[in-house]
């Protein structure tokens, strides 16, 4: 029983830790907000779900407590819904405020911050249709 738990839990925990550290390193090293959003999502959804699963194994098989398992499932489900929502709202607000995405060399991908604002609009003006710089 104990051995089985260890065999199941350790690989999951290591996977979760890889998600955590990878997301955090990406957060410090990536060039701009939009790429960092991607790195943060890895931690927020992947890391939380996998480590939550490890805790769930312990809650069910060691503590045998249904309440703890339900709370863990609530946390995991809630994170699964809110983390992408927060990322979306953040990216949209950043676009609307005119933050221009950059590529790996630090070159801006759009010509002006007005274009970024236009990209963020839910109904872009037909007159000033955005052309992406190739």
């Amino acid at each position: 029983m104990e051995l089985l738990l260890g065999v199941l839990a350790w690989p999951l925990a290591i996977l979760g830790m890889i998600f955590l550290i990878a997301g955090a390193v990406g957060m410090t090293r990536l060039p701009d907000l939009y790429t960092r959003l991607h790195a943060a999502s890895v931690t927020d959804t992947g890391g939380t779900l996998v480590i939550g699963l490890v805790l769930l194994l312990y809650a069910v098989f060691v503590y045998g407590s249904a309440m703890v398992a339900i709370k863990l499932l609530l946390i995991m489900g809630f994170t699964l819904f809110t983390a992408p929502t927060a990322s979306h709202v953040l990216a949209k607000a950043a676009l609307l405020s005119g933050l221009v995405p950059v590529d790996g060399k630090g070159e801006p991908l759009l010509e002006s911050s007005e274009q970024a604002t236009q990209l963020g609009r839910s109904r872009p003006d037909a007159s000033s249709a955005v052309q992406e710089k190739r």
Partner: protein, 137 residues
């Protein structure tokens, strides 16, 4: 020596935080920044109290009937023949202090808004200049 470092580290960190808050209060002229410094100071005091209430090996002061089973102790490494609780009294005092602290900071922020409406600035020194009469500072 090593033991006194780990044993007193919490107090030292609390003192550094307190002094950081005090420095913001003294050296920053912006009223809202001063409030933020006060918030830093306040939270460090909470830490001091909670540090005093902690008993090592203790658990949160919520009564349990279920002493951890043997299987549990083997799995988590926690061995608790009888339950030790941390001191609940500092928790009660700090619970009150947090709520009162937010109430006072709400009043202070309302004062800052009124000052901004009356003077057009929330910088301490500019307000003093306006009060003394040399507007063009």
């Amino acid at each position: 020596m090593m033991q006194s470092i780990t044993g007193l580290y919490n107090y030292w960190a609390v003192i550094i935080l307190m002094m950081a808050g005090l420095y913001i209060l003294i050296a920053r002229y912006n009223l809202i920044k001063k409030m933020i410094g006060l918030g830093v100071f306040q939270t460090s005091i909470f830490f001091l109290y909670i540090t005093l209430g902690k008993v090592s090996g203790g658990t949160a002061p919520i009564l349990t009937d279920t002493v951890p089973a043997g299987q549990l102790a083997a799995a988590t490494g926690a061995t608790a023949p009888e339950v030790v609780y941390s001191n609940p009294l500092p928790h009660v005092l700090i619970l009150t202090a947090i709520v009162v602290g937010v109430a006072t900071s709400a009043v202070a922020l309302a004062l800052a808004i009124r000052i901004y409406e009356a003077y057009g600035t929330i910088e301490d020194d500019e307000i003093r200049h306006i009060d003394l009469g040399d507007i063009d500072s």
